[in-house]
């Protein structure tokens, strides 16, 4: 019994150390911040929901203090749901229903994720190609840059339905129109980052390539491209998060039946605030996983390129 407990404690200690190593000793500060946020959240919910609770109850009912607080934390359609309500909703819609069901958040997340990934792919490739063109053709820098910047000032929420309708008229429906909207948003940081990255090599290194009489293609593949890798990953991390936002935005005005965006919209139609928040939490988790995945690829790539950079 005692030995068992000791091994248990040892295992926990080892586990703790591993966690500390992976998280770089940030566990305590991070959990403190989360704790504070949760406390603030519950307090805010009392204030925000108090009005509705009192209106519903009418003038005659007298609340005990604890009953009143419990009521603000357990409404069906609260103005501000509290974390445990959201987690219960997520459990219901993630674990308790079949993945294929229209009520499953996993199903909706998967729809949004495939739009995100397709949009990310199209956007990143476009962004990289634009950067390559801008870096190699001086005239293009002046010609393209203003348009690229202007493109980001267009209100995407207004353009999205137009894109979907126009593409629908020529027979393109489903994931692609939404992915294009997502790509439209996410190519921008990639272009900006890669223009910076492709022009980052020291002049001396460019001169070195000239002394070898290297062709522009050789200078690109052997110098500019590898030198831009850190910039590429920095922009890809931004881009994947943006393309998730783009995918959700693209689902909103297009009458999509599936996806986290559709779920948000349905939730707000029917005043299902808990459902909205559950979709939001899922979207946030999805973004975190996507960014972490890009980070992992970055880690492996950088290690293959000599580690310390």
């Amino acid at each position: 019994m005692t030995t068992e407990a000791a091994t248990g404690a040892g295992a926990i200690g080892r586990f703790g150390r591993r966690v500390a190593r992976v998280t770089g000793g940030r566990v305590i500060p991070i959990s403190t911040v989360i704790l504070v946020l949760i406390v603030v959240w519950y307090l805010a919910a009392i204030i925000v929901n108090a009005g509705v609770v009192m209106t519903l109850a009418g003038d005659n009912v007298k609340f005990g203090f604890t009953d009143f607080i419990a009521a603000t934390w357990s409404q069906d359609r609260p103005l501000l749901p509290v974390p445990h309500q959201i987690l219960i909703e997520m459990r219901k819609t993630i674990l308790d229903v079949a993945v294929t069901s229209k009520r499953s958040l996993i199903y909706h997340a998967e729809v949004t994720l495939s739009t995100t990934l397709l949009g990310f792919l199209i956007g990143s490739v476009t962004g990289i190609l634009l950067a390559v063109a801008i870096v190699h053709v001086k005239a293009l820098q002046k010609a393209l840059m203003p348009w690229i910047i202007a493109s980001q000032t267009v209100p995407i929420l207004a353009v999205a339905p137009i894109v979907v309708v126009v593409l629908g008229n020529i027979g393109i429906t489903g994931t692609l129109p939404k992915a294009l909207i997502s790509a439209y948003l996410c190519f921008f940081p990639v272009t900006i980052g890669m223009v910076k990255g492709l022009t980052s090599p020291d002049l001396m290194l460019i001169d070195l390539m000239r002394t070898y009489y290297a062709s522009p293609a050789q200078t690109f593949w052997k110098l500019r491209w590898p030198a831009s890798v850190p910039f590429l990953f920095a922009s890809l991390k931004v881009a994947i998060a943006i393309s998730l936002v783009g995918a959700i935005v693209a689902e909103l005005p297009t009458g999509a039946q599936a996806g986290l965006g559709a779920r948000l919209l349905a939730g707000s139609y029917y005043g299902q605030t808990v459902q909205i928040w559950a979709a939001l939490f899922t979207a946030a988790a999805l973004a975190a996983i996507a960014v972490a995945a890009v980070g992992l690829v970055e880690h492996l790539t950088v290690r293959g390129m000599g580690g310390r950079r």
């Binding site: 001396m204 001169d207 070195l208 000239r210 002394t211 070898y212 052997k222 030198a227 390129m305 580690g307």
Partner: protein, 288 residues
């Protein structure tokens, strides 16, 4: 590309560079590898013209080790860059191996060593040395062989798989010399290669460079602003002076071939060093 690789094969078989295409008498010991006549270069800047080089006449012959010495701003780097076709002269003419620098560069007639090692951080040491060979288009196997041999020549055997940040400054600079020599160019252009290193490392590398030069019989143009370094290494020292950048003296330096660092205390050495110092001083007083 085919010219360059032919050049290399030719070099390897007969010990002469690019001779076939040029039809130059490579057996004669004294054809100029570099010849400039009345060479000038003026940079147009916002603050008016900068006369980086003015009326430079210089011939450097096969197998020579020529140092360019002078205070900073006297045009040493600019002269080297004109030879390398990294900068174009605005007056006079220049030939490298009997052709304009532009042509010499396309034939990859020279290797260039910068003041900083300029190694690619994402390549291993041997990967860096193989870089020019990849660009020339040598087969993988041959690239590897050559790079390994060059690294041995600069005493870096065993460090092939290391990344640049794992090497000391002196080792990095040796790797960059190996890289410049990897495709076996006739001519080696070095711009203050040891300028950023401490004196002890520098002395050691000077000894090694001298040995390397004796073994490979390259023509070397070497920029420095250290008098002892110039006298120790060179067969000839070109003393330069700024505003306008020009040559004010050329000092012959006929120390024995098998010199060691001790020679720096010998009277012959001190006599040459004295003359170089006088030249530098004359350049300065003219300037003030």
């Amino acid at each position: 590309m085919s010219i360059a690789s032919n050049g290399i094969e030719h070099e390897f078989s007969s010990g002469t560079a690019g001779g076939a295409e040029q039809a130059k008498p490579t057996s004669g010991t004294a054809y100029p590898v570099i010849r400039t006549r009345n060479l000038s270069l003026t940079f147009d800047t916002d603050d008016g013209p900068v006369y980086a080089l003015s009326k430079v006449d210089l011939s450097i012959h096969k197998g020579e080790f020529v140092s360019l010495i002078g205070p900073s701003g006297c045009g040493k780097t600019t002269l080297l860059r004109v030879i390398a076709d990294l900068e174009q002269a605005t007056g006079g003419d220049i030939e490298v191996n009997g052709v304009p620098p532009q042509v010499a560069r396309t034939r990859r007639d020279y290797g260039y060593v910068f003041q900083a090692p300029a190694l690619y951080p994402w390549r291993t040491v041997i990967g860096n040395v193989m870089l020019p060979l990849e660009i020339i288009g040598l087969p993988r196997h041959e690239r590897h062989e050559r790079a390994k041999a060059q690294l041995a020549l600069v005493n870096l055997t065993g460090f092939e798989k290391k990344f640049p940040w794992q090497l000391s400054g002196g080792m990095q600079q040796r790797a960059s010399i190996a890289r410049a020599l990897s495709f076996d160019p006739e001519l080696l252009l070095m711009d203050e290669p040891f300028g950023a290193l401490d004196e002890i490392v520098r002395d050691k590398l000077n000894g090694q460079l001298l040995k390397l030069w004796a073994e490979t019989k390259k023509t070397v143009v070497f920029v420095t602003h250290s008098i002892p370094e110039a006298v120790f290494l060179s067969t000839r020292i070109v003393v330069m002076s700024p505003r306008p950048g020009r040559i004010i003296d050329v000092v012959d330096c006929d120390l024995p071939a098998d010199r060691t660092l001790d020679i720096r205390e010998s009277p012959e050495f001190l006599k040459i060093a004295h003359r170089v110092r006088e030249g530098l001083r004359a350049g300065h007083s003219y300037d003030d």
